[in-house]
């Protein structure tokens, strides 16, 4: 997903660290096809979701040379345009496709601007602005991550019936988390959690976003 951006910018002291919220066998086919040249890591316990309070994919964080957060977790250029897709044909209208492309391109351009200009980039938040845009977890979210960790372990040790109980507890405690819900959900033959239950849960959002709008000029 980031290969061309990385290829263009890697000599500018820039790296993409791509983390799959997946087990290695689910991630493998995608990585072996795409063959990215930047580090691709496997986070089967969704540890990053816990550490950074992430709720969906793709989300991204901008981190500067000193290891400081410049842009807290946000949608990495993904938009809610998919919600208008025809669920039978899986087609999107040209307007929906254009919106999806616009969001993606605007985000990638912002990354590029930051890599070129550093803290002088209009897209880089200063400390106060970055802090103000952090979304912080609460006790229920922390407990949800503990249930999720247990559920993943139980699944790996052959206790899937009990895993289901803890996945459900995790989603109940952290209903905004799509990473928890989709990891636990039934998958189709290609491994996607986009069945009727997914669409029902998306519809239940009503006016609320699937991807929170990105706080960026041009979005």
């Amino acid at each position: 997903m980031w290969q061309s951006l990385f290829a263009d910018l890697k000599d500018r002291n820039f790296v993409v660290v791509a983390v799959a919220m997946d087990g290695p066998e689910a991630a493998r086919p995608w990585l072996e096809t795409a063959k990215p040249t930047y580090p691709c890591l496997i986070d089967r316990n969704h540890h990053l979701a816990d550490l950074y309070n992430m709720v969906n994919v793709p989300q991204a964080v901008w981190i500067d040379e000193k290891g400081r957060i410049v842009r807290p977790p946000e949608s990495a250029g993904a938009s809610d345009s998919f919600r208008g897709m025809n669920r039978v044909t899986k087609q999107m209208t040209s307007e929906q496709l254009a919106q999806r492309e616009r969001t993606k391109t605007t985000y990638a351009s912002a990354v590029r601007d930051w890599v070129m200009k550093g803290s002088a980039s209009e897209f880089a938040f200063d400390a106060e602005s970055a802090r103000a845009r952090l979304r912080l977890p609460d006790a229920e979210i922390a407990e949800a991550h503990a249930h999720f960790r247990l559920a993943q372990h139980l699944l790996r040790t052959g206790k899937s019936d009990e895993a289901v109980v803890h996945f459900a507890a995790a989603s109940r405690l952290h209903p905004d988390s799509w990473t928890i819900w989709r990891q636990a959900a039934k998958k189709d033959a290609t491994g996607l959690a986009t069945g009727p239950e997914f669409w029902a849960r998306v519809d239940a959002l009503g006016d609320r976003p699937y991807y929170r709008p990105i706080d960026m000029k041009g979005m």
């Binding site: 997903m1 980031w2 500018r12 002291n13 820039f14 790296v15 993409v16 660290v17 791509a18 983390v19 799959a20 919220m21 997946d22 290695p24 689910a26 991630a27 493998r28 086919p29 990585l31 580090p39 691709c40 890591l41 496997i42 986070d43 316990n45 540890h47 550490l51 950074y52 992430m54 793709p58 991204a60 964080v61 901008w62 981190i63 500067d64 040379e65 290891g67 400081r68 990354v111 802090r131 952090l134 912080l136 609460d138 006790a139 979210i141 922390a142 407990e143 991550h145 503990a146 249930h147 960790r149 247990l150 372990h153 139980l154 009990e162 990473t179 989709r182 990891q183 959900a185 998958k187």
Partner: protein, 137 residues
């Protein structure tokens, strides 16, 4: 054999036994699993020591063993376990995660690549990093 899951680690604890919501573990194993050691001044990890509440030592310590779950809950950290008390998760609190994020120091982590080689975020210090998640689902 009881398994204790803490952060990214998974430890088989031969000295551990569970009793309902209590998880008694030898102090040495508890330290290896979580980094918290039992000292005269209380439970300590790094620069921080948390005294055992006076008059309530028996809730937390019995000889060389500690009730890890009782201590964990006292610290407002989540504790979850399976139905037979064989697998316990000693989770991190929202307060700890929030404090870390509010410092704006990007939390470090160690995760494997597809070849199983452990990589960190901090190994990229000195470069701008786009930390981006994705999934097959």
């Amino acid at each position: 054999m009881i398994t204790v899951l803490h952060e990214q680690s998974e430890m088989a604890c031969s000295t551990a036994h569970a009793d309902g919501e209590q998880l008694w573990i030898g102090a040495g194993e508890f330290e290896r699993a979580t980094g918290w050691s039992l000292k005269p001044q209380g439970f300590c990890r790094g620069d921080i020591c948390v005294p055992v509440p006076s008059g309530r030592a028996a809730e937390f310590v019995a000889g060389d063993a500690v009730d890890a779950a009782a201590f964990w809950r006292r610290m407002n950290n989540p504790v979850v376990h399976d139905s037979i008390g064989e697998v316990w998760v000693l989770g991190s609190s929202a307060a700890d995660r929030s404090t870390s994020l509010q410092s704006l120091e990007a939390p470090d982590f160690t995760l494997p690549d597809l070849a199983g080689v452990e990589r960190t975020l901090s190994e990229h210090r000195g470069k701008k990093v786009l930390l981006a998640t994705w999934a097959s689902w």
